[in-house]
């Protein structure tokens, strides 16, 4: 307890005496954390969009007008036995026409009321949320295409796959860029803490010669690094929130077109805490690298 208090006292004392270099050190951590946090926020949001849209992914099975009752039963049995199927809805020819008239009233007005309904009956098959990531859904679509009584099957997952690839790419880019910035931040913190070591060299030498424990010689330097990292992490979080608050209305407006403006969110609290904690770990690492010179 005494050691912790001593380390904190000394680290805060150094922070007060060197506000300029402290701020520089915090800023480098903040930039690294901001980039990581920014990518994390973007990927978290894209993940949510992907999950939401994946959960609404459907296979539309259009039936031939001359489908027999036996073929219909066989089709239902196939869909019941498939684990990737979450639910299914039968849309009759009349229902399809009703929807068409509701969604496209101008076009529906052109349809001859006396003519035969040109729209086919269909089964809308909703898939399990994770089904789009694997090949099971595609296999089901292939199986349905071959089934008797089926006119056509629509399962367009290209755009979902593309979105998933973008999210994955962004995540990797974030980690890569973040890793470079992390190394830069750790080296900067280490250099700044080394400056402290340089300015305190007489004090440290005196303490060494008077038998001070190594932990209390190195501890304040590591603590200083941790404080730089924590400060940088908090700064990054504040900046991230400001950017989020600025950008959110535009993004929400964009997503409201598809009726899902609530999909835009800030970092989850656990990730935000991890960002600050990560900054402290990085700062501590930088401090420890500098403190190793005390022997």
């Amino acid at each position: 307890m005494h050691a912790l208090r001593y380390c904190l006292d000394e680290a805060f004392r150094t922070l007060r005496r060197k506000p300029g270099t402290t701020l520089l050190s915090m800023l480098t951590i903040a930039v690294a954390a901001l980039v990581l946090g920014g990518f994390l926020t973007v990927t978290v949001n894209l993940d949510r969009v992907l999950a939401r849209w994946s959960s609404t992914a459907e296979v539309s099975v259009y039936l031939r007008d001359d489908i027999s009752p036996d073929q219909r039963v066989a089709l239902n049995q196939l869909l019941t036995s498939e684990p990737v199927v979450a639910s299914r809805t039968f849309v009759s020819k009349a229902d399809a026409l009703g929807r068409f008239a509701r969604d496209f009233p101008d076009l529906a007005a052109g349809l001859d009321a006396g003519a035969e309904n040109p729209l086919p009956a269909s089964i809308e098959v909703r898939l399990q949320p994770r089904a789009v990531e694997g090949s099971a859904a595609e296999a089901l679509a292939q199986q349905l295409r071959r089934a008797p009584g089926v006119a056509d099957v629509r399962y367009d997952r290209t755009w979902l796959t593309r979105l998933a690839a973008i999210v994955s790419g962004l995540r990797w880019a974030g980690w890569l860029l973040g890793a470079v910035l992390i190394v830069a931040a750790v080296l900067t913190v280490s250099t700044v803490v080394r400056l402290t070591l340089y300015t305190r060299r007489d004090e440290i030498e005196v303490m060494q010669l008077m038998g001070a424990p190594m932990g209390l010689l190195r501890g304040p330097l590591v603590t200083e690094g941790i404080l730089h990292g924590g400060g940088g992490g908090l700064l990054a979080l504040a900046l991230l929130w400001m950017i989020y608050a600025t950008v959110r209305p535009q993004l929400a407006g964009l997503l409201s077109v598809v009726g899902q403006p609530e999909l835009v969110t800030f970092l989850p609290s656990a990730a935000a805490a991890a960002l600050v904690a990560g900054g402290m770990v990085l700062g501590g690492l930088g401090g420890w690298l500098a403190a190793r010179q005390v022997r």
């Binding site: 005494h2 050691a3 001593y6 005496r17 305190r200 007489d202 004090e203 030498e205 005196v206 303490m207 060494q208 010669l209 008077m210 038998g211 001070a212 424990p213 190594m214 209390l216």
Partner: protein
Amino acid sequence: MIETLALSKMYGRGIYALKDVSVRIDKGEFVFLTGASGAGKSTFLRLLLRQEIPTDGLVKVGGRNLAKLTLRQVQSYRRTVGFVFQDFKLIPGRTVMENVALVPRVLGETSVQQQRRTYQVLKWVGLQHRMNAYPMELSGGEQQRVAIARALINEPSLVLADEPTGNLDPDLSLEIMNLFRDINARGTTVVVATHDRELIGRVGRRTLTLDHGRVT
């Protein structure tokens, strides 16, 4: 108290800072270590403080072979030794009191204990009235007295001083030496390295003379 046997310290290839030094300093003794610059005075003190390990021979303090101490034992040993530097090595940003209380604070003494001991030791060197001053506000003699107070705060059994009057005028030098005599009078073993033969003559204690790393 201090015993060295065929003590040698070599830096680089074949360059001896000390060569075959065998001396004995008894408990409670006051000894001057003298010689020209480069004679090996500072190296001898560094070996006594376990800042260096001998290349050959033995150095024992209080019966302990210093070369065999672990890091933790070195720390513990150093708490029984006070060290005074030529350039004082006071921390500019800390007050006299903070400078002297540095080690008790590090070792976890309470504020009340620190203040009491610091006040006592500053009173002993006659600087209790300057405890809130910063080193730069003090004269050279006062700064060295603060450094001596800091060396005494742990009540060491051995005090080592490396050219403690090197930056002081003759009157202040004698004043500082009188302080070392007072420290010795309390039973503390004192070893002072100095090249000032006139000062040694005025104080008049046993003198070990080093010349090119050997005791003459």
